[in-house]
């Protein structure tokens, strides 16, 4: 447990050190979203229709691509192999890294999302539902993404391979969440969606860290 906190502190410290890294997913998120009015059309009706999908896809990408560097730098400078020797299970370390990643990426995205929702002419109820969906959804993204990150670390493939591996796993979350937001926008009750998201979150909580630490060991024995 002490170690878990140590990881958390280290990761947040590093994130703080290159604070640019902290903001990048956020800015990326905003920019990608603002590309759609330019690419599709600025008209309100259309935008409000595609808003949930666009915002969620952007969130997916922002998380996933920031994910790529989760283990990369530790691998490059060899501190990842040292972690595998630690006195406490590797799972704990991995979980620590995942949590800190969520704190640094997921939470800001969720917090910022309502503004963007309004920029895409989503109504307040929709924006609120979006916020909730992101708050529940992004941890799942971080957890699943970590598996991909652990498997692709060490292969110098840029951020794309991991996207290819993991995006399909994200599809259920995407569908649930966007449905939830649309329900919210039409003032339909969406507790059902939230329960489902919660369930997925719990499940991935269970197995993702284990899978990820297995992945780390695999990547290292090469």
């Amino acid at each position: 447990m002490r170690l878990f906190l140590a990881v958390l502190r280290r990761e947040l410290l590093i994130a703080y050190r290159n604070s640019a890294d902290l903001l990048n997913p956020l800015i990326f998120f905003v920019i990608v979203i603002s590309l759609f009015p330019l690419g599709v059309s600025p008209s309100g009706p259309i935008l409000s229709q595609i808003a949930p999908g666009v915002i969620w896809v952007a969130a997916l990408l922002a998380t996933l691509l920031s994910m790529d560097s989760l283990f990369r730098s530790d691998y490059d400078d060899g501190s990842l192999e040292l972690m595998t020797f630690s006195r406490e299970p590797l799972v704990l370390l991995v979980l620590g890294k995942i949590v800190s990643h969520w704190l640094v990426t997921g939470v800001p995205l969720a917090v910022l999302s309502p503004v963007l929702a309004l920029m895409l002419f989503l109504n307040f109820e929709g924006a609120w539902a979006l916020f909730l969906s992101l708050l529940l959804g992004t941890p799942i993204l971080s957890l699943l993404g970590a598996i991909g990150a652990s498997l692709t670390v060490g292969l110098r493939k840029g951020g794309l391979l991991i996207a290819v591996l993991i995006l399909p796993l994200y599809v259920p979350v995407l569908i649930l969440a966007t449905a939830m937001v649309q329900a919210g926008a039409q003032a339909v009750d969406y507790t059902g969606h939230m329960l489902w998201l919660g369930a997925i979150l719990a499940a991935s909580m269970g197995f993702a860290p284990i899978a990820a630490s297995a992945g780390v060991r695999i990547s290292l024995s090469r």
């Binding site: 290159n18 604070s19 640019a20 890294d21 903001l23 990048n24 800015i27 905003v30 920019i31 603002s34 009015p37 330019l38 059309s41 600025p42 008209s43 309100g44 935008l47 309004l118 920029m119 002419f121």
Partner: protein
């Protein structure tokens, strides 16, 4: 001319000069801003169709104008730094970026606030708004790059290159966005057909614009001075300054 240029380029002499200029500039800035604000917010007539909500224009328009011209100034500083390797230019660039970004942000916010009463929504994908948003992204890019690099010299040059690239693209971006908007004209509002302003409205506006410019320069100088002290901290003249300040 040339060696004057270089003498000014020396941080020390700039510091001296600016300490002479600052009081006057700040005085002027306050005068312009105060008078412009009072004039615009109290005496100027309300907009004949928008009523008093239009008064936010006296903040919004100057902010928007400043947003654009500060990017130009920043890029100019970058050019000077790349060509003549004048350290001061690097400092100027570094200090201009955040100020410009905040002006852009101000333009966005005031615009959004203005949009609510006039258009009934906080935001529309209008040409001007969009290009301002993009301008904001360009600022953010420069700042992000600057802060991402540890080594100062290369960070400065990298930021300069990026700022120049941005300035080359800025007109293309503005033009394309305008064109894009006219393409979708039917589907949205526009700021383009504005009634010609009566002089009682644009005179205070002009005062505010000037005031904003002055304020920009004051803020810029202050930041530059601080940065100079930071960088030259180990040189004799700074030491003297600081000890002098202490006693």
């Amino acid at each position: 001319m040339w060696n004057w240029f270089h003498r000014l380029g020396a941080p020390k002499s700039f510091y001296e000069l600016s300490s002479k200029l600052l009081p006057w500039l700040s005085l002027l800035a306050t005068v312009f801003l105060a008078s412009g604000a009072v004039w615009g917010l109290v005496f100027a007539p309300p907009d004949y169709q928008q009523g008093d909500s239009a008064r936010i224009m006296y903040v919004h328009v100057p902010a928007s104008i400043l947003a654009q011209s500060s990017y130009l100034m920043m890029a100019t500083a970058g050019l000077v730094f790349l060509v003549w390797r004048i350290k001061l230019a690097d400092i100027a660039l570094q200090c201009a970026a955040p100020i410009g970004a905040s002006f852009t942000f101000l333009a966005l916010v005031t615009g959004a606030i203005w949009g609510k009463p006039t258009w009934g929504t906080w935001w529309v994908w209008d040409a001007r708004l969009t290009s301002t948003l993009l301008l904001f992204f360009l600022f953010v890019g420069v700042i992000a790059l600057r802060s991402a690099m540890d080594n100062r010299d290369s960070a400065g040059r990298a930021a300069a290159v990026l700022a120049l690239v941005g300035v080359v693209n800025l007109p293309i971006i503005k033009y394309s966005v305008d064109w894009w908007f006219t393409l979708h004209q039917s589907s949205s509002f526009s700021l383009t057909e504005k009634p010609a302003m009566p002089s009682e409205m644009w005179l205070p506006l002009l005062t505010m614009v000037l005031g904003f410019y002055l304020f920009f320069f004051v803020a810029w100088m202050l930041r530059i001075r601080v940065e100079i002290l930071n960088r030259e901290i180990r040189t004799q003249w700074v030491r003297d300054k600081l000890t002098g300040a202490r006693v």
